[in-house]
């Protein structure tokens, strides 16, 4: 008999609750929408003062163990921070740096203490993963050659313009490895900046050909570290997206409560009211999945329950954000169509977020296998 394996743990530790309050307060005070907008067309995409404050609050090492200079609070502790950052549409290299930290820690542990320590201190790291544009393949096309240098390009490397070092997913004679490459090892013309749909984010294509890594992480742990890190990255992106969806919902509610047409507040029309309720319900669903994920992910290898949680969180967050961003533009009418309206930021965030670390189809296919096939004989 099929029995749907339902782990329903959801809680908020005191630390997570505190981080949520602090991070929300930080975004509210330090990053109002004008500050975010001022960075839309800058090279780095963020204000260095804001990044410095985040580093000082210890956010870059939140999920890394004490032994390497982190806060040792576990990866679930990053979830409330990303939810708050998403609520402010605040683009910083924190996601890149957190994901790089998880990948290195999970693959190399304390052997890479020096690299992890640099992240905790505020250096920016980023994972160079995509060979092209498919999140669902191993992406180990970049190779280490006999001389110890890399050959090949990576696409869509987040925050490549500001990264101090790169974690390049590559192969050494067919085995997956992580090549840690200093920025200084890149050729002068290695980085070509992407024109991203979301102007709060930055990414670039990077040609690593000829770059010699300062360190190479090898061994079986690399494969499971990659798997788990991609899942955690999906969860953290889902948290960020859920925060953005919540903010987008507030902006819709505010407009529906102020704009009048035909002598009535437009929020009194059910044609606008009911879809807004569905955005709300979708946002709450996403939030439940995100915090369920935050409750059950661990520093160790992720369980099947945790894998299900991360994938569901990503699917739920993407789906509500795409809907919310789309309806936000529409419900703001002619104003919604203009650059000046924040709905344009939300719809762009939605389009960016839905592909990151695998889109809905990617995750739903894997959920079908996990839930329908694995349990078939149970």
């Amino acid at each position: 008999m099929f029995s749907y394996p339902q782990n329903l743990a959801i809680s908020l530790t005191e630390e997570q609750g505190m981080l949520l309050d602090v991070a929300r307060g930080f975004v509210r005070d330090q990053a109002p929408i004008e500050v975010v907008r001022a960075q839309l067309e800058t090279e780095t995409g963020y204000e260095s003062g804001i990044w410095q404050s985040m580093v000082e609050m210890g956010w870059t090492g939140l999920s890394l163990p004490d032994a390497v200079g982190g806060a040792g609070m576990g990866v679930g502790s990053a979830v409330p921070v990303f939810e708050a950052l998403g609520g402010g549409l605040l683009g910083t290299p924190l996601l890149s740096t957190t994901v790089a930290g998880q990948l290195i820690w999970r693959a190399a542990g304390e052997q890479a203490a020096e690299w992890l320590g640099r992240l905790c201190e505020g250096q920016i790291g980023t994972v160079a993963f995509l060979d092209n544009s498919d999140w669902g393949v191993p992406n180990t096309g970049v190779a280490l050659d006999a001389s110890g240098a890399l050959k090949g390009r990576k696409h869509f490397v987040a925050d490549a313009g500001v990264a101090d070092f790169f974690v390049v997913v590559a192969n050494d004679n067919g085995s997956p490895v992580l090549a840690l490459v200093e920025r200084s090892a890149l050729a002068a013309d290695a980085v070509s900046v992407n024109v991203l749909i979301d102007l709060t984010k930055r990414a670039a294509n990077v040609d690593f050909t000829g770059a010699t890594p300062a360190h190479v992480v090898r061994g079986e742990a690399v494969t499971s570290a990659l798997r788990d890190t991609l899942l955690l990255a999906a969860l953290l992106t889902a948290a960020e997206t859920t925060g953005a969806a919540g903010r987008c919902l507030s902006s819709i509610i505010e407009y529906l409560n102020t704009r009048k047409q035909f002598g009535k507040l437009i929020g009194s029309y059910q044609a606008l009211k009911h879809p807004t309720v569905d955005i709300y319900v979708g946002m709450e669903n996403a939030r439940s999945f995100v915090y369920h994920g935050a409750t059950i992910v661990a520093d160790e290898t992720l369980s099947t329950d945790a894998e299900v949680a991360c994938r569901m969180a990503k699917v739920a967050a993407d789906s509500v954000m795409v809907y919310a961003g789309d309806r936000a533009v529409q419900f703001h009418g002619g104003f919604g169509f203009t650059w000046e309206c924040d709905s344009t930021l939300f719809i762009r965030r939605a389009q960016w977020a839905q592909q990151m670390f695998g889109d809905a189809i990617h995750h739903r296919k894997r959920l079908a296998a996990l839930l329908l096939d694995a349990a078939a004989g149970a």
Binding site: Q6, N285, R287
Partner: protein, 400 residues
């Protein structure tokens, strides 16, 4: 806490053993899927006997005060019982309007006399309750009800008609919302709330047949029916507040219900188990990528609902819209179930067209009947569309 956990575990084992012994076998006639479809005397007698047995064993209204027939226990104990009822495929506990709406309402707002008079018999099933809120012309717009109650000495004289009166033809009592003052400036202030007897001259309940082919609803006619003035609950003209409180219990916004087992539990596991045996294009239905993707969608919805139920108990995770999850339970849950049942009923090849009574029907036509029956949940107690308005206005703060 640890002690409590251990105690609950022991209790679960005790309940489970009791149910293995006492849950009645299939009686050989169709049992209702929910309390909304009790349509024959045979079903009624069977369900009444079962409820009495459960209550006598101490497993119904466990968290209600002992002086009124409860056990004075922590609500967690009733939750365990409800889970076990569902796990043992036990027949429904049918006196739902009494158990889940009237009982908690009386415990909350009733006088000691009212509590003493009614609650124990609700639990034992000896007295059946129905609800007189909706009228033929006023369903979702409850504030506009027209049934009149006019004070005449020690009685109120009632005239008018109520509809969708579940269990009305069997009920001993009705919670009745009637207009005592048609001239009140605000329509809500003209309404009063009665704990009315049903078996008096001038009250007649006429069964209504439903889309499932079954009965359970009634239209109730009041023709110069004299009900004792002492039936008035609260103040004359104060009925709206009591009715709104009742709806909180009905919609599950406020806890206190005697048992959650008011309908046959239909889980996503049932859906997948039943679909697993089916084929399409000569292959297992569950190997079809589109079907697989649809099922992932349903499994996510099911999980999201369960997670939000848990999340409600974590206030720190509900700071943005504190009442939001509670006020959207009905909106989300009933619509999910409707779509899930419709989906299962429609993925059976040509057998999708069969209904209860055909021996070739998949699981006896269970899903087809369950789908139709589910409209009771998406319409009753405030339609989905009204629920959306409530969420929009009371949770999101959008204008009326």
């Amino acid at each position: 806490m640890a002690d409590n956990k251990a105690a609950l575990k022991t209790f679960r084992e005790e309940v489970s053993a009791w149910m293995a012994e006492n849950v009645p076998a299939d009686p050989g006639f169709l049992l209702p899927l929910t309390f909304l479809e009790v349509g024959t005397e045979q079903q009624l007698d069977f369900l009444r006997e079962w409820q009495y047995k459960l209550w006598s064993a101490g497993y119904l209204g466990m968290h209600w005060p002992t002086e009124y027939g409860g056990q004075g226990a922590d609500p967690a104990y009733q939750y365990v019982v409800d889970k076990e009822l569902s796990r043992h495929n036990a027949p429904i506990i049918f006196n739902t309007i009494g158990l889940n709406w009237v009982g908690p309402l009386l415990l909350d707002m009733g006088t000691d006399e009212e509590k003493a008079k009614y609650i124990k018999h609700i639990l034992s099933g000896e007295e059946i309750w129905c609800q007189g809120f909706s009228e033929p012309d006023h369903g979702s717009d409850l504030g506009a009800v027209q049934t009149r109650a006019v004070k005449d000495g020690d009685a109120y004289v009632v005239n008018g008609s109520k509809i969708w009166t579940t269990l009305g033809n069997y009920a001993d009592h009705m919670i009745l919302l009637a207009r005592t003052d048609p001239t009140a400036e605000r329509k809500y202030d003209g309404l009063s709330f009665f704990l009315s007897p049903m078996k008096v001259a001038g009250i007649e309940a006429h069964p209504i047949r439903k889309v499932t082919g079954e009965y359970g609803f009634n239209q109730t006619f009041f023709t110069d029916a004299r009900i004792p003035a002492s039936c008035l609950m609260g103040e004359e003209g104060g009925g709206w507040r009591v009715a709104m409180k009742t709806l909180e219990y009905e919609r599950g916004v406020t806890a206190g219900q005697a048992s959650g087992h008011w309908g046959v539990t239909i889980q996503i596991d049932d859906m997948i188990n039943d679909l697993r045996g089916l084929e399409q294009d000569g292959e297992a239905l569950l190997s079809d990528p589109i079907v697989r993707d649809d099922l992932v969608g349903f499994m996510m919805e099911a999980k999201a609902l369960s997670l939000s139920a848990r999340r409600m108990a974590v206030p720190a995770l509900n700071t943005d819209y504190p009442m939001g999850l509670a006020l959207s339970v009905k909106y989300r849950g009933t619509e999910y179930e409707r779509r899930m049942k419709q989906y299962t009923a429609s993925k059976q090849g040509a057998r999708s067209a069969l209904y209860v009574g055909d021996e070739d029907a998949v699981r006896g036509g269970f899903w087809q009947r369950a789908y139709f029956s589910n409209f009771g949940a998406t319409i009753g107690g405030g339609t989905t569309q009204v629920q959306a308005n409530i969420i929009a206005e009371h949770v999101l703060g959008l204008p009326k």
